[in-house]
């Protein structure tokens, strides 16, 4: 067996876990094209954690993926607004934020 323990050996150690823990709702709620973008984000975090890419490379690639995610969300939202318009909610939870793990 090969055990990776909690010892912090690099500044980004644990960042993949943080992505998995904090961002799991994103992975769960989105489907189709967005899911594939999220999967690419997941890989990006893994590459950062394992030092395959630098933080600068991560930031550049992340921006492209998040922009794409925004575009997908806008499309979904526009589609949904035709069916129902809800402006009265006071806690705003968008597509990738609804619900819980």
């Amino acid at each position: 067996m090969f055990l990776i323990d909690d010892i912090v050996t690099s500044p980004v150690r644990g960042i993949f876990w943080i992505f998995e823990e904090i961002n799991r709702v994103v992975q769960k709620e989105l489907a189709g094209e967005a899911e594939s973008v999220t999967e690419q984000l997941r890989l990006l975090y893994m590459q950062l954690e394992t030092s395959q890419i630098t933080e600068q490379q991560f930031d550049a690639a992340e921006k492209i993926l998040l922009d794409r995610l925004d575009a997908i969300e806008r499309r979904i939202k526009n589609g949904e607004e035709i069916e129902e318009s809800q402006d009265t909610e006071d806690v705003v939870v968008t597509e990738h934020e609804i619900g819980h793990p």
């Binding site: 067996m1 876990w17 709702v25 909610e89 006071d90 806690v91 939870v93 793990p101």
Partner: protein, 267 residues
């Protein structure tokens, strides 16, 4: 990246702080009405404070932009706040990206959901979440299975020995057999691991594996006082597995996998 270990020691300041009007980002729900304050720790570097309904409190910070992207800086800020809270109490972590229109909206949300929040706070009180991932540490998972499973090997040899290209149906059948074996192996190893950890875990959540090489992805609800024992138990349990398995565990986390905050959004 924000160093969450250095901010974990910031003390809570026992006084009311100015509540940001307008949009507020919500990190967690905590028990009690004691004000908590973490200056500049929040998303966008905002001050983090509590808004209470008199019994429970939401941990929030003001927000300039209602759209919060799941960017690394935001995820780590969210996690830093949860980590600070976890050092003091067990919070109910909110889903990343939860934004309320105003402090008043948060108070109303607390009142509406008080019963659910209090029940879940009791469930996780005095406990933390630990994560455990196990993966097959082999370059080719299919070859690994073929080499360790006689039935699969026989099936592969049968079609490979035919001396021709596999038909689509043969490929599908072989793929199904592989999937079946993969699922069986995962279930078997997960049961073995849960058995080994049962003395240090109150609850388990078996999360879905997302890559073929993943054997299990477990979230464990662990009593705070058993955290070191949990680590020791994982290390001991890992020895039950051979060199083809890699173990990665992490924590303590807020109990993301053990709370279900179905927010009542209707007025």
């Amino acid at each position: 990246m924000r160093s969450s270990s250095s901010v974990a020691t910031l003390p809570a300041q026992p006084r009311e702080t100015a509540v940001a009007s307008g949009k507020n980002y919500i990190y967690a729900i905590v028990e009690g009405i004691e004000p908590r304050s973490y200056p500049s720790l929040g998303i966008e570097g905002k001050d983090v404070h509590t808004i209470s309904d008199g019994r429970i409190a939401a941990v929030v910070s003001g927000l300039a932009d209602s759209k919060i992207r799941p960017a690394r800086a935001n995820l780590t800020a969210h996690q830093s706040v949860l980590k600070c809270l976890l050092a003091e109490t067990t919070p109910l972590p909110m889903a990343f990206g939860s934004v309320a229109a105003s402090p008043e909206a948060i108070r109303r949300m607390l009142v509406r959901n008080r019963h659910s929040f209090q029940g879940q706070l009791r469930r996780v009180a005095g406990k933390i979440e630990m994560g455990l991932r196990v993966a097959w540490d082999t370059p080719n998972i299919f070859e690994y299975f073929v080499n360790t499973d006689a039935e699969l090997r026989a099936a592969r040899d049968r079609v490979a020995g035919a001396g021709r290209e596999l038909t689509r149906n043969e490929k599908i059948e072989l793929g199904r057999m592989f999937d079946r074996r993969l699922t069986e192996e995962r279930e078997q190893h997960t049961a073995k691991m849960q058995q080994a950890l049962v003395s240090v875990c109150v609850e388990f959540k078996v999360n879905q594996c997302r890559t073929e090489r993943e054997v299990m992805n477990l979230a464990c609800l662990v009593p705070r006082e058993a955290q070191e024992e949990f680590s020791a138990t994982v290390q001991a349990a890992a020895k039950l597995f051979d060199n083809n398995f890699a173990f990665d565990y992490s924590g303590p986390w807020a109990p993301h996998n053990f709370v279900e905050l179905e927010l009542d959004l209707e007025e």
